[in-house]
């Protein structure tokens, strides 16, 4: 899968950043049948007392993960082409960037979930009397929690959503505890593309590393970049991170070998210690429960490798 929302944010910084920045604190909106958009809590799902959606179309890979995690998978009639988890989700060719909501009508959805509303799909769906829920990229784990709970309310699985959130935090805490202090203070660089776009600790993915006490080398460049700065090769050589996570393995076929072959990188500590970790691009760019747990486990395994390699 090559959905790389985080990377796209790096380029369309202003527009996407406004979405991302809002995600942790601003509730998503749902447009009910025949009504102006209202807050999700009072509009649908069991909490709001309106009709429970039975034909959900998810055009967000992260939302798809959340839907199945909270037990709403049976209500899902379609997911976008980038939703690869769970594997048995009814995938369609939709991207979420369609210009006309009419494309979705053959699936007869009663709730459409989007990550972005780039083509004014919400207004179109509203005029078609189809409820919508926009869940923009979360910038923190807490932001993802909020979205899971909102989805729970919107789909009639509020209690299960609460349980999932608690479970995610329990699992995350367990993984962090298993690593202990071994990762504390260790520096890392996460690569979103081969031109050195990266993510700071202020992003969703960066906040995961922070839980392990790791230090993001991109933070020094993050002040004017909405969390996704473009670094330079020279800065990477100077900062010499302990770990490198390559989140451009699918889009750009990068690997530990291609990374080490770049000018001046053969002597990097991470290369020398075999700490260049390939990551599926989508795992690093999605904020669903599966991606979160997968990435946390990946960090833990990377640190275990460090222990095995004999460094302090």
């Amino acid at each position: 899968m090559r959905r790389r929302t985080i990377s796209a944010i790096a380029v369309a910084a202003t527009a996407f950043a406004s979405y991302g920045a809002a995600s942790a604190s601003t509730p998503a909106r749902i447009a009910g049948r025949g009504a102006a958009p209202v807050e999700v809590a009072g509009a649908s799902g069991t909490a709001g007392g309106t009709r429970r959606p039975t034909r959900i179309l998810s055009l967000s890979a992260s939302a798809t993960q959340m839907l199945y995690a909270i037990g709403a998978g049976g209500q899902v009639v379609g997911v976008d082409k980038y939703s690869t988890y769970p594997p048995n989700a009814p995938r369609t060719s939709f991207t979420g960037y369609e210009s006309s909501a009419e494309d979705y009508l053959p699936l007869r959805p009663d709730l459409v979930i989007l990550a972005f509303d780039t083509s004014h799909l919400v207004a179109q769906l509203h005029s078609l009397h189809i409820a919508t829920l926009v869940l923009p990229p979360a910038t923190t784990v807490a932001g993802a929690d909020t979205q899971i709970r909102e989805l729970g309310r919107a789909t009639g699985h509020a209690a299960a959503a609460g349980t999932v959130v608690v479970s995610i935090h329990d699992d995350l805490a367990k993984v962090v505890r298993s690593v202990g202090t071994r990762a504390a203070g260790r520096t890392y660089y996460i690569e979103l593309d081969p031109t050195y776009y990266s993510a700071t600790s202020k992003t969703f993915i960066g906040s995961l590393f922070s839980r392990f006490g790791m230090v993001d080398v991109a933070d020094a460049a993050g002040r004017a970049s909405s969390g996704y700065p473009q670094l330079s090769a020279e800065y990477l050589v100077k900062s010499n991170p302990d770990y490198v996570f390559l989140a451009d393995t699918v889009c750009c076929a990068q690997s530990a070998r291609t990374f080490a072959a770049r000018p001046g990188f053969a002597g990097l500590r991470a290369v020398h210690l075999d700490h260049v970790i390939p990551v599926n691009d989508s795992t690093a760019s999605e904020w669903g429960p599966h991606s979160l747990e997968t990435f946390a486990a990946l960090i833990a395994r990377a640190v275990e490798r460090r222990g095995a390699s004999g460094t302090k």
Binding site: A8, T95, Y196, A221, A233, K238, T258, P263
Partner: protein
């Protein structure tokens, strides 16, 4: 003093390239290169950088004590970036000046005949359709961009053929507009189908030297060398063309042949450099026009000096791109536009004031 094309007031303009012009251009280029060599997020003391460079010059008895890391920064990261920036800037400025000469169009730039849209489509095809090649250790993007640019201009030349004249300037420009629009539409279609590649494609379109290495220098140097040589050799013919195709014909110059040779050489060089740097705008307009405003319209001056000042301009712009938000970077194309447009306006106003 030799005289050449007429200026705006009809007076004959000097054409000879003075040593002072060349010395100024070389000094600007060296100053930009030196600044780029000494500045960077690694924070290596300038005296150590200079000692390191001097230690590699034969017969200079200086020994450098730079660390291995600093040595890598100087010779594998900064130096190829400076050299590549110089090559790209020189080629874009030279191609822009040449296009302005053969099309009698002050707004002509290296992308006039579809190089940008062709290269952009090629890059998009490589990213969308050929990602598996990267796994085999071959990055198809530069080659695809190069081929796309060549094909686009080839199509423009073929479409620009008219009955009355083999390839007149207006027909070629209009052909370029049509081809550019068609290829841009094809690129948009591909991107629309595969939105996750938007970031990579647009990063390339914005232009930059962040991944510059000696291999990129080696890759483009032969093409740029051939193209630059042809264009420089055509500088006198461009002066003749400036009086008009018919008048040039009466002087024994085949305008359409010259135009074709210049377009072919400029396209070859431009396609080569954009394949490794992406689409860096403004250089091909700002640099030649600044020289023209200061030294007059003769291409015998503009073309050689475009090489020196184009190289220096892009190296200086790249210094800004990598230092303004250091250790972060700004896309180089953004810097050239942001820096170049106001600078050009200042030169334009100054020139008018002097003329008035």
């Amino acid at each position: 003093m030799s005289e050449g094309p007429r200026g705006a007031a009809g007076e004959m303009q000097p054409t000879r390239l003075h040593a002072l012009h060349v010395v100024t251009g070389v000094a600007f280029l060296l100053a930009a290169g030196l600044g780029a060599l000494l500045v960077g997020p690694a924070g290596i003391p300038p005296d150590q950088v200079l000692a390191q460079v001097a230690s590699r010059i034969p017969f200079i008895p200086i020994h450098s004590h730079l660390s291995a890391t600093a040595d890598v920064v100087v010779w594998q990261l900064r130096m190829p970036r400076i050299v590549l920036g110089g090559i790209v800037g020189a080629m874009l400025a030279l191609a822009g000046a040449s296009y302005q000469g053969v099309f009698h169009n002050p707004l002509a730039d290296p992308y006039l005949l579809g190089v940008a849209s062709g290269a952009g489509l090629g890059a998009t095809v490589a990213v969308v359709e050929l990602p598996h090649l990267r796994g085999l250790g071959f990055d198809p993007l530069p080659l695809a961009a190069f081929v796309g640019a060549i094909v686009a201009v080839g199509a423009t030349i073929a479409l620009g053929r008219t009955r009355e004249r083999a390839r007149d300037a207006t027909s070629l420009v209009l052909g370029g507009v049509a081809v550019g629009a068609f290829l841009a539409a094809a690129q948009t279609f591909l991107l629309q189908r595969d939105t996750p590649v938007l970031q990579e494609v647009y990063t390339w379109i914005l232009g930059g030297l962040s991944t510059a290495g000696w291999s990129e220098v080696e890759l483009v140097l032969p093409y740029v060398g051939v193209a630059a040589t042809v264009l420089i050799l055509c500088r006198r013919l461009l002066d003749v063309l400036s009086v008009g195709d018919d008048e040039a014909g009466s002087l024994g110059v085949h305008a359409d042949r010259v135009r074709l040779a210049v377009v072919a050489a400029a396209t070859l060089g431009t396609a080569a450099v954009v394949s490794v740097s992406g689409l860096i705008g403004f250089v091909g307009i700002i640099v030649p026009h600044t020289i023209r405003l200061v030294l007059g319209p003769s291409y015998q001056r503009i073309l050689p000096l475009s090489v020196l000042f184009g190289a220096g301009f892009l190296i200086a712009a790249d210094v800004l791109a990598r230092t303004v938000l250091s250790p972060g970077e700004i896309p180089l194309g953004v810097v050239t536009a942001f820096l170049g447009a106001p600078f050009f306006l200042v030169v334009l106003r100054q020139s008018r004031r002097l003329a008035g």
